[in-house]
Amino acid sequence: MDYLYFPGCTLYTKAKNFDQTARNCSLLLGFELKELKNWTCCGATFPLATDNIMALLPPSRILATAREEGTALTTLCAICFNVIKRTNRLIQGDVEKRDKINNFIEKNYQGDLQVLHYLEILKKDIGFPQLKEKVKKPLAGLKAAAYYGCMLLRPFEEMEFDDKEKPALFEEFLEALGAKAIEFPYKIECCGSFQSVGSPDVATECAYKILGSAIKNGAEAMVSTCPMCTFNIDHKQSDIKQKYLDFNPIPVFYFTQLLGVAMGLDYQTLGFDQNAVDPIPLLKEKGLL
């Protein structure tokens, strides 16, 4: 079965390894990600103020063009998933705004598209027990911390992804790959998001709290679903190291990279050269490469 797929800007630039590994893994799992034609940026933040129609137009245009090609749209980036899913719900429920949006984007979209995240496909369509059977190289002995961040979960009534304070889907995924999922209290805490550009110190502090908490609970690596979070918790580690001398950097994976390792993909196709903290020594130590 094929899934219509929206990569998003960052997966074409900063997070190419995320995009590539997801595509390669999906082929091994028996489905293909079919890229949406002529997609644009999703807008990157869902407009919360009630009268901001402009910011709703990019995700609406994506939804409308996707509906012309299929009935479901898959995303990988947690931010795109959040923006597109919430816009879809808004279009479903608000007739006045729907008409206004359709007028601007010159389409007729009624909100009848299903917005999915890659992890949801793995859980619902493939199933974690079946995934476990397909794993060629179980990640035995790897203690990984599943970091959700904000965008997959909140606001939970709209995202309907998992529990609002104690989600478990991501951990179940890691356990299916054979890794040991570490529990840590900061797994749903915000990484500081775009403050890493405007006020870098704020984002560094947020990242330090999250990483520190994971390390304290025994994590050897972090796993993320979001390029923004990954930038903050991976690339900021050199800044953290300068500020907190006792801090020991740990690698941060995209979940598809670990999936790739477990599925037995050649490690040179997994884009580890683009990770800020080199994960190869850890994987070698665990006998996974």
Binding site: C41, A49, N52, P155, E189, G198, S199, P200, V202
Partner: protein, 208 residues
């Protein structure tokens, strides 16, 4: 000046000295409060702000609260008190990253993330200079990047941001590292149908 005087709940952790700098000019005397700002903010955000009973759950969970000049719970209290200039001129509204932890935990279902976004829009509309001006400039550079090519291209967006903020040195080295790792391609990827994007932008800004 003490905040307790006006019924503010004092912060349970890390009192920020910058709080003292804010002059409480709008509140002339206790019992005389201008409610027009409360009404305006309620209408724009769609949240019932009068329900807040200062339980501080929003501030306790907020990842950026320790760096804000006014904490989220106090933002609501100050709106109730009609302190428009102080609220719209605060750094707090620009430091909010819409992570929605506050709204998820609020016992009165006030979504403060929504409120903060409404306040940012009000501040821009009223021409109040942003206390965290770089964040506003980043938002502008981002929108311009979409307007140009339909997709965001980090290299040109960040150059645009650097030109706007005139802050060339911060993050120069991490930026170069990303570039060298091949994470930021030199040329933007443009989509077909850029005319359509341009038209949508033009119509929306005109008719809004």
């Amino acid at each position: 000046m003490s905040y307790r005087l006006y019924g503010f709940v004092t912060q349970p952790f890390r009192v920020d000295l910058r709080m003292e700098e804010i002059k409480l000019e709008t509140v002339t005397s206790v019992g005389k409060v201008d409610s027009s700002f409360l009404e305006e903010a309620t209408k724009k955000s769609g949240e019932d702000l009068s329900l807040c009973y200062q339980c501080l759950k929003c501030t306790a969970g907020c990842p950026t609260a320790p760096y804000m000049d006014i904490r989220p719970n106090n933002i609501i209290r100050m709106i109730q008190m009609g302190m428009k200039r102080e609220v719209l001129g605060s750094s707090a509204i620009w430091l909010c990253v819409s992570c929605e932890t506050c709204g998820t935990r609020c016992p009165n279902k006030i979504d403060i993330g929504v409120l903060m976004d409404a306040l940012r829009e009000m501040a821009i509309k009223e021409g109040v200079p942003a206390r965290e001006k770089n964040i506003h400039l980043l938002h502008e550079a981002f929108v311009q990047s979409i307007r140009r090519g339909g997709r965001v291209h980090e290299a040109t967006m960040l150059i645009d941001y650097k030109l706007r903020s005139k802050d060339f040195m911060t993050d120069l080295i991490p930026g170069m590292m990303l570039f060298l790792k091949g994470k930021i391609p030199l040329l933007p990827s443009f989509i077909k149908g850029r005319e359509e994007i341009k038209r949508i932008f033009e119509r929306c800004t005109k008719e809004k």
